[in-house]
Amino acid sequence: MQIRRRQLLGAGLGASALIALPGCSDQGGGSGTPSTEKKVEVFSWWSGPGEGEGLAALIEDFKKQNPGVEFINAAVAGGSGTQARQVLTTRLLNNDPPDSYQLHAGQEAASDIKADKLEDITYLYEAGGWKSQFPKGLLDKLTIDGKIYAVPVNIHRSNLLFFNPKKLSGWGISGPPQTWSDLLAQSKTLAGKGVKVLSVGTTWTQMHLMENVLLGELGTAKYNGLWDGSTDWNGDEVIKALDTFKQILAASVVGTDDWQPTIDKVIAGTAAYNVMGDWAAGYLQGPKALKYKTDYDVVASPGSTGVYNFLADSFTLPKNAKHKEFAEAWLKECASASGQDLFNPLKGSVPARLDSDKSKYKDYLAWALQEWQNTSTVVVGSLVHGVVANNAWKSEIERAYGLFFTDKDSKKFAGAVKAAYAANK
C-alpha cells in the first residue's frame, strides 16, 4: 500500500512537471529574432485549382533566382482568405509572423499597419523602379498615408457580367444590357420564359453585385467618393441606386451557395446573367471546359464599360520577419515581369505590370489585359474584396447589409454605412 501510494505520488508529480514544461520552453520561440538560415516562409490562401499551380510556378522561379533558399509554403485553404486570416491573426498576435503574407491590396492592410505589424516597403519600389511599371491608378489605391506596404502580383476585375450567348439568342435577346434599367427590362421578357434574369448566391456575392450596381448607377467619381467620405451615402442618388439594387435582387434567383454553383445556373440556362469577378472565367474555361465567346461570354457589368473595378492579391513584409533578406527577394520575384507572367495565366488574372508579355494571355485574359493596359481605362477599387474599406468598416457594412437584406430599408442602410465610416476611419 505504502509503495503504491508513493508511486502514485511520483506519477502525479511527473505529470504536473509535464504540464509546466511547455510554459517554459515557449520563451524566445515566438520573438522575431533575425535568423541566418537560408529560408523563407510565405503565407497565402492559394491552394485551390489554378491558384495553387500559379503559386507553384512562382515558387519554382524564385528557387531558380535564389538557389539554396528553402521555401516554406504556408498556405491555408478556404473562403477567399477568411480562414487564412484567422490563422494569420493568431500568429501576428504572438509576434510570430511569416516572412511574407498575402493580403488583398488596399485598405485591407489598414488594421495591420495600425497595429504596427507591417514594414513600409516604398524603398523596394524606389530601388526596383516599380513606380513607373505599375499603373498610377493602382499605385494610388496601394498607397496608405503616403507609404506603400504591399506588392501586387495580379489584378482581378470585379465588374463583369457573365452569360451564355447561345441561351441568350434562344430567348430572343439581342445582347447583354447596357444599363441596370435595361437589365430590369430584360427580366420581364425572361420571366415569361420561366428564366430569372440574374443568379445570385451567398451574402458576399450579393454585396459583390451591390457594389457594381452602385458603380454603374453612380459613375466612377461618385463611386470613389463613397469610400472617402466625399459622396454622401444619405444622398438621393445613392438611395435611388440602392432601390434599383433591391429591384434587381427581387428579380433574381438568390441562393446561399458560393459563386461556383451560382454561375452554373447561368450555364445551365435557369438564369440569364451572373455578376462575378474574372476568376469565374478561369473556372468556366478550366474545370468546366467551356469556350470563350461560344459557350460563355463576358462583358463589363451594366454602366461600367471602360472601368476596371479591380482587386489584387499582394504580398507584404511583416515587421520582425525572421528571414527579411529572403522575404525581400520573394517580393522582388512577385514584382518581376517574369514572375507575374508565370503566375497570372495559371491563376486566370492579368499582371499588374504594364510591360508583360501579351502573347501569354489568351481568350478572356487577352481582352482583360488589353483593357487593363489601355490608358483610358478608369481604375476603381472593390469593396467586397478589401480595396476601398478597412476590415472594420467592411464588416460593419456587411452587418448593416444583413439587416438591409431582411427589412429592405435603403435609407436606414445608407445611414448605418455612413455612421460606421465615421466610427471606423
Binding site: R5, G12, S16, I19, L92, T256, E398, L403
Partner: protein
C-alpha cells in the same frame, strides 16, 4: 497533533497531486481564458491587432443590447433552440418507445438511429444544404425535388431562405435529425432501467398500457428528460458549424455564435466579439447550473 495532521496530509496529498495536472490544464485553458475573455469584453479593443487596455466598463454590452443585428440573432437562436429541442426530443422519445416495445434486430435499428450523430456537423450541413435547396425549375434538388416528383409540388418550401423570421427553424431539421438518435439512446437506457415488476404490478391493478406510461413510466423518466434538455440546450446555444455550412453569412439564419465569429475575425471588433462570447457563456451557465444543482441534491439524498 502533528502526527495526525501529517497523516491527514498523507491521505489527501497523493490524490491531490494526481488531479493536479488536469486542474492546472482546466485552470489555464478554461477558467483563465474565460477570465481573459471577460477582461477583453470590458475594453475598447477593435480595428487593430494590438490589444487595448482602455477600460470602457459595460459599454460593449450596452451597445449589443441596442444592436438590431444582435436582437435578430438572439430571436433566431430562441426559435432555433425551440424547434431543435422539441423536434429532437419528440423524435428521440418516439423511437425509444418503439424500440422498447421489442423489435427483432433491435441492435441494427439502434445503430442506424445513432449514426447521424457520428457525422460531423459540417458534413451534415453540406448534405442538408443540398436537401434544402429551393431553386426553381431544373436546378431544384433534395426534398423539394422529391415532393415535386411525387406530384406534391404545392409542398415546395423555401426552407431557410424564406423571408419569414422562422427561416432558421429549417436548420433545426438537420440538427434534430443528427441528435434524435442520441436522445433515443438516452431514453432507451432510461426505459430499460425501469424494473419490469413495476409495470407488472400496475397491470395486476388493472391499469391500461396508456395509463402505465403516464403514471408509472413518465415520472421515472423525468431525470432522463432533464439531462436530455440540458444537453440539447447547450448544444443549441453553441451551434456554429452546422449553420455556417448551410448558410454562411446569411442574415436570416445568423445566431450570436456566428455574429461573434464574423465581427471578431473579419471585422477585428475583438471587444464586441468577447462580449457576445461572455453573454453566450452566461446563457449556458444559466441552463446548466440548475441541472448540476439538482443532480447534486439527488446524489446527496442517496
Amino acid at each position: 497533533m502533528r502526527r495526525r495532521s501529517r497523516r491527514r496530509m498523507r491521505n489527501w496529498l497523493p490524490g491531490f497531486l494526481l488531479v493536479l495536472p488536469s486542474l492546472l490544464a482546466i485552470g489555464v485553458f478554461v477558467y483563465y481564458f474565460i477570465g481573459w475573455n471577460v477582461a477583453v469584453s470590458l475594453t475598447d479593443w477593435r480595428g487593430s491587432l494590438k490589444p487595448s487596455d482602455t477600460f470602457v466598463g459595460l459599454a460593449n454590452y450596452r451597445q449589443l443590447l441596442a444592436d438590431e443585428t444582435f436582437h435578430n440573432d438572439s430571436i433566431h437562436l430562441v426559435i432555433f433552440t425551440g424547434f431543435f429541442m422539441a423536434g429532437a426530443l419528440a423524435l428521440g422519445i418516439f423511437m425509444a418507445l418503439l424500440l422498447d416495445k421489442g423489435v427483432r434486430g433491435e441492435g441494427v435499428y439502434r445503430a442506424i438511429f445513432l449514426f447521424p450523430m457520428a457525422i460531423s456537423f459540417i458534413a451534415t450541413g453540406i448534405i442538408w444544404r443540398w436537401l434544402l435547396n429551393s431553386d426553381s425549375g431544373a436546378s431544384t434538388t433534395g426534398i423539394n425535388k422529391l415532393t415535386e416528383a411525387a406530384g406534391l409540388g404545392f409542398l415546395h418550401s423555401e426552407w431557410h431562405k424564406t423571408d419569414s423570421s422562422f427561416a432558421v427553424a429549417a436548420i433545426a431539421l438537420p440538427a434534430g435529425w443528427a441528435l434524435s438518435g442520441y436522445i433515443m439512446a438516452l431514453f432507451l437506457a432510461g426505459l430499460r432501467g425501469i424494473p419490469e415488476e413495476l409495470r407488472e404490478a400496475a397491470r395486476v391493478d388493472g391499469a391500461s398500457e396508456l395509463r402505465i406510461y403516464w403514471h408509472v413510466i413518465r415520472p421515472m423518466l423525468l431525470p432522463v428528460l432533464l439531462s436530455a434538455v440540458v444537453i440539447l440546450a447547450h448544444i443549441s446555444l453553441k451551434t456554429f458549424d452546422l449553420i455556417y455550412a448551410i448558410d454562411p453569412g446569411g442574415p436570416r439564419t445568423e445566431t450570436p455564435a456566428l455574429y461573434m465569429w464574423q465581427t471578431t475575425f473579419r471585422g477585428t471588433f475583438f471587444a464586441r466579439g468577447a462580449s457576445i462570447a461572455t453573454m453566450l457563456f452566461i446563457a449556458i451557465v444559466l441552463v446548466i447550473t440548475p441541472y448540476i444543482w439538482y443532480t447534486m441534491r439527488q446524489e446527496r439524498k442517496k
